[in-house]
């Protein structure tokens, strides 16, 4: 049967990829095989049809897969449409009364052949993305039978990227082909080595019965790939670490202001983050109710200022009603704000319920891309960019605006600032509002990657304090470095020590670090630091 298959394939090759004239004669044996009662014949027919290049092939194989292909006693094939009418499988012409038909049955072997065959068919699809996927599928399940189809597809492929993938699929198939020459095999090994990745490594390692030179080349390629994979793994860990770091940074930047600049320890900071996440939820609910669906992607950009304002206003209220009575008493502030965090959590639980709320990721933020062995999801990428943007915006506010100037003045010398006519209570309230508002924006980002629940903030509060303490109090650059370093260390420890133990190790390391450098990585020096 393989011989038949080859003949068919060669015919196809000789005649050219898209020669419909040739199809009639070329596919007849395949169609005949399909009408057989023997599963072996059917499977072979499927394979032959798949590589035939016949324009009807996709329809026929699809019908077979869907259980809509029927055979007549004279081996003619018919496809039953969804409305119960039949068309002639070979020509596509409607068949008014096909007569007595029986369904062409499939077993597992036929199903496998169908999958492979439909895959090969997609090599010729008009859409380049579909062709690329087809090539990848063939790569994952290499089949020497597909080599002719691949050859034809490669010859006619206009897209260089897709072509490369097809060549890789072909190389994988060559290595499985019993009668391939040693030179071809070595070339195939080189192609797989060049491709890289876990799948290529698996294929190379799984090779058996190869000539010694090829086996040797394959082993060398595997170890080379292992090295590559390890590098990519590190890169991936670094990426995850960067992503975690950006989340920590977002949660900690607001804290860097309230704790770092004002010296106010706000245990309800995590709840400001939580409020931001719920603001996102409410914005999305309103979008669904009142805004055309086409604009739904804007819900996140709209939620950012909303969350900032909501959390900021709550922050100002907290400062005016509570914290201003506690300046200079950090431990009391800690207790009062802890109480506040309990109230806020319970309030949100009462209003929105204790269960998680669904916040969607808009289409433009979802998806992922692959860079070599590195998987990069877009929402994480956007969060990193957002964190960097927030950091720089905050620095600009602190350095360039009148509010920033007054904030710094009040921090450095409250009485002198008051004497200069700065309304220090007003500055205090706005500073606290700014820090809380930034926390609210962090909540928007977190809503994209974490569960939006009343406990959302709790998971980040200790980590955020750690970041601020680690980076050095009152230093935004330190906060950024601290966040990234903690994030990366966390993610590098995870595979070695496991997620929980990794966290413990980080905590212990951090405790030891604070022992050594109680004022963080970038301490402020001089008398001011000792005040």
């Amino acid at each position: 049967m393989r011989a038949l298959l080859l003949v068919v394939a060669l015919l196809g090759l000789l005649v050219g990829p898209h020669g419909p004239a040739s199809a009639e004669g070329g596919v007849a044996p395949a169609l005949a095989a399909l009408s057989s009662r023997h599963y072996d014949d059917i499977a072979n027919g499927v394979a032959a049809l798949a590589v035939s290049g016949d324009p009807r092939a996709a329809a026929i194989l699809g019908a077979l897969q869907g259980g809509r292909l029927y055979a007549r006693a004279d081996h003619a094939l018919f496809i039953r449409g969804p409305d119960g009418t039949y068309v002639d499988a070979a020509t596509g012409a409607p068949a008014a009364d096909p007569g007595t038909l029986r369904e062409v049955r499939v077993n597992n072997a036929v199903r496998r052949a169908l999958d492979a065959g439909l895959g090969a068919l997609r090599l010729f699809a008009p859409d380049a993305a579909v062709r690329a996927t087809a090539a990848d599928t063939l790569f994952a399940q290499p089949d020497p039978a597909a080599i002719p189809a691949l050859d034809r597809a490669i010859a006619s492929e206009p897209d260089a990227g897709v072509k490369t993938r097809m060549e890789q699929a072909r190389a994988a198939a060559i290595l499985q082909k019993p009668d391939a020459s040693e030179a071809d095999r070595l070339a195939a090994v080189a192609t797989l080595r060049a491709r890289g990745g876990l799948e290529a490594r698996g294929l190379l390692e799984g090779l058996s019965g190869q000539p010694p030179a090829v086996a040797h080349a394959a082993a060398a390629a595997v170890s080379a790939l292992d090295f590559d994979l390890r590098l990519w793994n590190y890169a991936q860990s670094a990426w995850y670490g960067l992503s975690l770091g950006s989340v920590l940074l977002l949660a900690a930047t607001g804290l860097a202001i309230t704790f770092g600049v004002m010296g106010v320890i706000n245990m309800a900071h995590g709840e400001m983050v939580m409020l931001g996440a719920y603001a996102t939820y409410v914005v999305q609910v309103l979008f669904r109710a009142y805004v055309p669906p086409g604009l739904y992607g804007l819900s996140i950009p709209v939620a950012i200022p909303v969350a900032f304002v909501v959390a900021g206003i709550v922050g100002i209220a907290i400062e005016r009603l509570m914290i201003r009575f506690l300046y200079g008493r950090p431990l009391e502030t800690l207790l009062a704000t802890f109480g506040l965090s309990l109230i806020l959590q319970q309030a949100v639980r009462t209003i929105f319920g204790p269960t998680n709320r669904d916040v969607d990721t808009p289409a433009w933020m979802s998806g992922a891309t692959q860079i070599g062995g590195l998987q990069i999801t877009f929402n994480r990428l956007y969060i990193i960019l957002f964190a960097v943007g927030v950091l720089f915006a905050l620095m600009a506010v602190l350095r360039r605006t009148p509010l920033g100037l007054q904030m710094r003045a009040v921090t450095q010398n409250r009485r002198m600032a008051a004497a200069m006519g700065i309304r220090t209570p007003w500055v205090d309230a706005l500073t606290f509002g700014l820090g809380s508002g930034v926390a609210g924006m962090a909540g928007v980002a977190l809503s994209q990657i974490d569960n939006v629940s009343p406990n959302l903030g709790q998971g980040y509060i200790i980590d955020s304090f750690m970041v601020v303490v680690f980076g050095g109090v009152g230093n935004l650059w330190g906060t950024a470095v601290g966040a990234v370093v903690l994030g990366v260390i966390n993610k590098f420890l995870e595979p070695v020590a496991g997620a929980v133990l990794g966290k413990i190790v980080v905590l212990v390391l951090l405790i030891l670090f604070i022992q050594r450098r109680p004022r963080g990585m970038f301490p402020l020096k001089g008398r001011a630091a000792e005040a």
Binding site: Q346, T350, Q515
Partner: protein, 370 residues
């Protein structure tokens, strides 16, 4: 004037009330006048009173706001829990003569080395004090030596208990993971479920709390206690007088941890379970609010605060579970904003006492800013 005789005179009011109420509750329950459950309920309050007293020693007198003291309480509890587990013997569900049920369930074949010895009560008793004490010693030595203080210290104490929480959740730690240690059968040969054993445990808790109160009073009124208060209010000044604040803090820190550990050890047989939830940072912070409500820098205040707040918690969680967290939250805000000296502060306004601690408690944190 000379304070020496006063330090010797132990006022009996607090020990009498604590032990007396414990005996009374036990007797009422044994006599069938009161429901049986109030025995372990009151026992729990008194154990929390022990924890509150320990927190107050470091916070009210040493200026160290620990947000991780429940860790020492829980460690003492685990040490006692390990003893109780070993007492189960072959009566577990799996009937293994040596291994506790959860180890059989995890397919372990031998007792981990750190479980050895816990079948002996005196050994467990030593561990109840030694484990929290050693942890406090190492942690405190590192922290105080490098002059970590104020909110920084508070945060790393919270990180400490958080790390322990995560660690004890792990099954391979060998402490029962998520479920902790439970299904205890007996203690010192007495059935742990029986009313008499429970009554005895309650009275024992009352006596231990009274003894700890007497000890705490002696320590805080000694010259050591005076130095400690001086360290709390003006740490750098004590340094220029030639004192080493770090060693004073370390002594009170370790003492407090040991006291908390004993509290945990009494807690476990009365509650019947110890699990990693006891390490939750919230528990430590709740202990701080008991102290604040009662009045920090006093010794009777924390005990009063622990009993009252937990009584309120029992009432509210029974009737209006939602309301309890609101109430607790408002309690934090109210006490710090309006009543910084706590209930004892209200008492003191009528009867001005001469205890140095309470008077300046409000300014205690000033220097601790760091």
């Amino acid at each position: 004037m000379s304070p020496a005789p006063r330090a010797l005179a132990v006022p009996l009011a607090v020990p009498v009330i604590v032990t007396g109420t414990a005996v009374l509750v036990a007797a009422l329950a044994l006599g069938g006048v009161a429901p049986a459950y109030i025995v372990s309920l009151y026992g729990k309050y008194l154990c929390y009173g022990i924890l509150a007293l320990a927190v107050d020693l470091v916070w009210g007198f040493g200026g160290i706001l620990s947000l991780g003291h429940a860790a020492f309480f829980a460690l003492g509890g685990y040490a006692m829990g390990m003893y109780l587990m070993r007492q189960i013997g072959p009566r577990g569900v799996y009937g293994d003569p040596l291994l506790p049920d959860f180890m059989v369930f995890l397919n372990w074949h031998a007792l981990p080395w750190y479980w050895h010895g816990f079948s002996h009560f005196p050994f467990a008793l030593v561990m109840v004090m030694l484990v929290p004490g050693l942890l406090a010693l190492v942690f405190g030595y590192l922290a105080f030596r490098s002059r970590v203080s104020g909110v920084y210290l508070s945060i790393i104490t919270q990180a400490l208990t958080y790390a322990l929480l995560l660690a004890f959740f792990r099954n391979d730690m060998g402490f029962g993971g998520n479920n902790g240690l439970t299904d205890f059968k007996d203690i010192l040969g007495f059935n742990i479920e029986s009313g008499r054993t429970r009554a005895a445990l309650l009275v024992a808790t009352g006596v231990v709390l009274s003894l700890q109160y007497v000890l705490a009073r002696a320590v805080t009124r000694s010259r050591f206690g005076k130095v400690l208060i001086a360290v709390r209010d003006a740490e750098s000044r004590t340094r220029f007088l030639g004192y080493r604040p770090e060693s004073y803090k370390l002594v009170i820190w370790v003492l407090s941890a040991v006291m908390a550990g004993i509290g945990g050890a009494l807690y476990v047989p009365q509650i019947g379970i110890i699990n990693p939830g006891e390490f939750a940072p919230t528990n430590s912070i709740e202990a701080v609010i008991w102290v604040a409500v009662g009045g920090r820098g006093t010794l009777a205040g924390p005990i009063l605060g622990a009993v009252l707040v937990n009584f309120a918690k029992t009432l509210l969680t029974g009737t209006l579970p939602e309301a309890w967290l609101y109430a607790l939250g408002f309690l934090f805000v109210f006490v710090t904003l309006v009543m910084p000296k706590g209930l004892m502060g209200l008492v003191r306004m009528r009867r001005r006492d001469d205890v140095p601690g309470a008077a300046a408690a409000a300014s205690a944190a000033k220097e601790a800013t760091g």
